[in-house]
Amino acid sequence: MKPFDYQRAADTRSAVAALSRQPEAMYLGGGTNLVDLMRLGVATPAVLVDVTRATSEAIEESSGGGLLIGAAARNSDLAAHPVVRHRYPMLAQAVLAGASGQIRNMATVGGNLLQRTRCSYFQDIAKPCNKHRPGSGCPAREGDHRNLAIIGHSSSCVATHPSDMAVALAALGASVHVEGVEGTRTVPMPGLHRLPGDEPERDTVLEPGDLITAVELPALPYASRSRYRKVRDRASFAFAVVSVAVALDEADGVVRDCRIALGGVAHVPWRATLAESALRGAPATAEEFTRAADLELAGARPLPDNAFKVPLVRNVLVRVLSELAS
């Protein structure tokens, strides 16, 4: 690991100022991904600005009937929060499906959103990767890509976003509160993360110095009927092969509204807007669920070793929709 200075920011303004002053600085949250990437040599900051005490840890109901989650809130506190459990169960489930108890106690909400892909090539600086060394190439396309993207990828990158939490947030349409050099703004989910295109080194739309200060959940009453289902090789402590987050508003056998996002399929938590619109007003039947899933997956461009993800996502999506409908 390269030597670095450690600074603890007292508030968000000084944190942002510290980063704008020091171009080789990075924010440190729970450190569960960043410290690892530094040890691997993938991240080489000259300065770490600890923001765990600069941003809020609070989780409180917001004026609009939603929930405001401080960026420094630990994943485990988020999942254990009674409002999250009652009104956004898929978010609690998604967070609980991620990593392990120890990691969830460390990881912050802001940091979770900004964790980086676990593609093997990205994590090995002795190998080419357009994400860690732009222009060096993407060996995953011809090499190992079983766990990588089937949709929205580019010739320069087939990585997936690893977060479970982000999938639920994308489905819920959360807003990410950001403070930057130019002031504060909100970025809607999905929309924080970007597709790789020809700049796969950029995971998100954030600019240098931007600090996530909070995540706000909208009031979405029907999200109390929601579920996160993660498919993984090992029964626990494993990244998703694929995952789905679904909230369903159904009455009298008809879908009034729904929210669907997919994990493990793209460089971003993938909001399944095509499936959502196909289902609005449709009968809540397995046939309609399958039709909607197929519509969404028609855009998939799997690689040889991850083609199985297409039927897998379809099966899981239909299953979760059916479970929520019954």
């Binding site: 459990r85 106690n105 029964a235």
Partner: protein, 166 residues
């Protein structure tokens, strides 16, 4: 290098640490507290688990410089003098380890996990996340999955923890 005071198992340790140093390396290489183990150094095995302010964390991903006002508990601090912690006694009685290398992490993790369950935290296998979870074997298995054991002592680990939980 940073001067700081660490509070570990109720004792104060003045240390001068490299900012790059993890809590795990500070414990093992600087303070001769070698109970916490290095199995992977990447947060993927759980052998380094310790408690920080009562919560279980991975000491291999925790930078020591971040801990100046935290209370750290390692496996060396679990026993009450010569009296082993009930989990330590249960691990011996149930033969919940073989090589013993993951054991300090399992024990610290179990202490933290039992506190989480007592606080009513759900897990991903909790049928209804809104309900108060019941710490049955399935719940223990899921909640202890951040601690790998290559000797395959899981069955006995779950039995030992289950006995203490009851």
């Amino acid at each position: 290098m940073t001067d700081m005071l660490l509070s570990i198992n109720g004792d104060e340790y003045p240390v001068v640490v490299d900012t790059r140093e993890t809590l795990l390396d500070t414990l093992r290489e600087r303070l001769d507290l070698t109970g916490a183990k290095k199995g992977c150094d990447h947060g993927q095995c759980g052998a380094c688990t310790v408690l920080v302010d009562g919560r279980r964390v991975k000491s291999c991903l925790t930078l020591t410089v971040t801990l100046d006002d935290r209370e750290i508990t390692t496996v060396e601090g679990l026993a009450d003098g010569d009296r082993p912690h009930p989990l330590q006694a249960a691990f011996i009685a149930h033969d919940a380890f073989q090589c013993g290398y993951c054991t300090p992490g399992q024990l610290c993790s179990a202490v933290g996990m039992l506190a989480e369950a007592a606080a009513g935290w759900p897990s991903v296998v909790t049928e209804d996340v809104c309900a108060e979870p019941v710490l049955d074997e399935e719940e223990i298995r899921e909640r202890m999955s951040g601690n790998l054991c290559r000797c395959g002592a899981y069955v006995n680990i779950v039995a030992a923890i289950g006995e203490v939980a009851r």
